[in-house]
Symmetry: C2
Amino acid sequence: MSIEQTPPNRDNTPDNDVVEDRISDDRISDDIDRIHALCEILEPSFEQIEAGVPIEDESLRDKFTELTVLLAELHPADVAAVLESLPPRERNIVWLLVAPEDDGEVLLEVSDSVREMLIESMDKDELLAAVDDLDADELAELADDLPHQVVYEALQTRDEEEREQVKAAMSYEDNQVGAIMDFELVSIRADVTCEVVLRYLRRFDSLPDHTDKIFVVDENDVLQGVLPIRKLLVADPEDMVADVMATEVVRFRPEDDVEEAAQAFERYDLVTAPVVDENKKLIGRITIDEMVDVIREESEADMLNMAGLQEEEDLFAPVWDSVKNRWMWLAINLCTAFIASRVIGAFEGSIEKIVALAALMPIVAGIGGNSGNQTITMIVRAMAMGQMTGTQAGRLLKKEVGVALVNGIIWGTVMGVISWLLYGNIGIGLVMVAAMTLNLLLAATVGVLIPVMMDKAGRDPALGSSVLITAVTDSGGFLIFLGLATIFLL
Amino acid sequence: MSIEQTPPNRDNTPDNDVVEDRISDDRISDDIDRIHALCEILEPSFEQIEAGVPIEDESLRDKFTELTVLLAELHPADVAAVLESLPPRERNIVWLLVAPEDDGEVLLEVSDSVREMLIESMDKDELLAAVDDLDADELAELADDLPHQVVYEALQTRDEEEREQVKAAMSYEDNQVGAIMDFELVSIRADVTCEVVLRYLRRFDSLPDHTDKIFVVDENDVLQGVLPIRKLLVADPEDMVADVMATEVVRFRPEDDVEEAAQAFERYDLVTAPVVDENKKLIGRITIDEMVDVIREESEADMLNMAGLQEEEDLFAPVWDSVKNRWMWLAINLCTAFIASRVIGAFEGSIEKIVALAALMPIVAGIGGNSGNQTITMIVRAMAMGQMTGTQAGRLLKKEVGVALVNGIIWGTVMGVISWLLYGNIGIGLVMVAAMTLNLLLAATVGVLIPVMMDKAGRDPALGSSVLITAVTDSGGFLIFLGLATIFLL
């Protein structure tokens, strides 16, 4: 029976129960509104506040005090949200007022871009003080953004074991379990009674966060099983751990993908799970709070990518930073739009003769893009949930083509009749029906094939699929519509 | 000290630790591939299997046995994923083979459309058996999809208290905390020692899932505080609960929005939290596993909406169901495309004279839509995180206009030069620069204003924003470009 790695320590562990005095969400959002208002009033006095000069104006001084009090009551996670929502100068005022002992927690919570900015505003001693309270895995998380000198000095104050842990955590990619695993855990041997375990636990000042199970290991730290606290509490004190523990556990390797780990947590309703090395030796654990962050970040990344933003953008980033974050997708979009433009250019002769074509062609392209995105979203989602295997693609293609055919005939006919009435030319109406149906069929086919091929090529099917399909349905739609019109109407 | 509401019961509580023998994710996905393959082989024998006629062909019989064994090993959550990924007949084969005692759990896990289909395939006795093991809150979740007669008879087998719980849970909307709260919890009084609590807990057969804290109530069940298990385990057995418990807790009302509750869980790293009525009387609790589902569903709903799907669609839904799920967005898209088409129609005279305009106009519209979606995504995200207050909108508008101006000048110039070279007409080039810049400015302005106005009007800013902005930048882009060209080039 041993304390695994870092001994739990009251100062070190953020105490979950202090958190619990943030009661109603309503109050929090009122506080945040008030903080925004106060920051705006104090913004002109930024230089004075930064220089530490006392504020002379009494009403301003009151505001300053009120702001200090409000911030002191906020949880670090709420402070992080406030910091993200403020423009640079006001952000600095708030950051100056955050209690130094919360600095580390806040830095862990804010987005990457805001974190960089906050770290830049701090000197070495402030940074060292901020990271002093952090666990090894948390220090590792910040290390990439900290000046080398700070990381070096912060490591000097830790013992050999913790230094190894920080180094180990830093050696994994951001999307690997090893990068987010936690070294603070409680482990015991299988050959003791539950009574002994309870007595052993009582010797701790506090247990690591989210402790819902105790890890059972042998003398070489090889994982034997887990003892859920729920079982420990109802077990007969005389029962041996070996008889109460669960021997088959969902466990992870540090090289595992965090998104897969998050899916396992979600599917099996886990709160914590052990991380073991290739010899099944227990090296850490992962917890549900990290997994919730993974799920949130994953879905946000998908959404940002769908909207054409490369990464989470600081709300008040300088204009130039925003331009850089957005230029790539704009450039790709311009390239595909240019190709579509050249397709139209090839039919300038036809458009000169029937100018109505120019007005109708965006309708054909638009419905194809819309419908193709519907198909691709279905397929990407099925892939993410592991529901696409060998023969599924063929069957889904059949179904999507069927849907496209029905939609094409319905909406094609609607627009065909409208075009006929509008331009008094039944030929134009018929070309609309045919072009819309064909473009929807193209959209359905490409909407299934693009993600399947990207997946086969080892690429993330979510990323860029939407741009690609819009490119195909735009250029394809113009080509089909103008081509049919040239053949049948001229 | 009392057991709150439903007494915990070994049969009733799905045992988390049985779950834990699903080890590696890799093995699961191999199993699922194999199940897909077996289902395809067995599909032609569907009628026989459904009728319960023994399969004569020996090799088929072996396959059938293999499928049965594979399914028996899967966790209900995995069975649900398999069911969602199969076409109707194969889905029915799998459903016939699922152990009756897992039926209820599986029904809770599958998507709405698949759930409806599975329930349709079952007779009354099968349904009654399936829901028999479920908790009150789980029965309430299924009740909407079950035939009335089944709900009625299922309620008859429960005691008065449970019937009240089911009715209570059903009285809340799907997006309210009351609809997902759990009635199974452990509560104690404040005036006992930790030793007494430990002895009390030992009298349970098992504790409710995710029990990370015990709720402390007075004689009227009014919540006094919570006793985290982490604290109970390290406390001196002689300590009074009143001295160890946390008195200020994050608590929810059954009317609260589940998404806000999920944000609180995420922010404060909660595992469970109490639900109280207006008199602070403890009526239930919510758990992190439900919150993870909320976060996942919320982000999926956003993604489906962005792609123009009304709701989660059964992968193998009949063509007609898919058409119904998708028609609304296609219709909206067609309307906006039609408006854009009429804008172009108004300039047919200009296009007849300079046919190059027809080829260039989609570029102007396209970049506006792309950039507008970038802006709107930033704003919607900031709103979702509660970072938008009164004056923020004005400042963000200023920033977004700045970004649009820079992008307009850069990309406008690029495309302007290309158009000039392509058509040998510097006028066309200059109109491109001006039109692209103006459309980007329009996109930025509308990209900030649309979500702000939708929020003020009490609408969900995420829903439909993307369609709306594309409509504005398409019609606006055509109008600006063709308008400028008509004024300056003709």
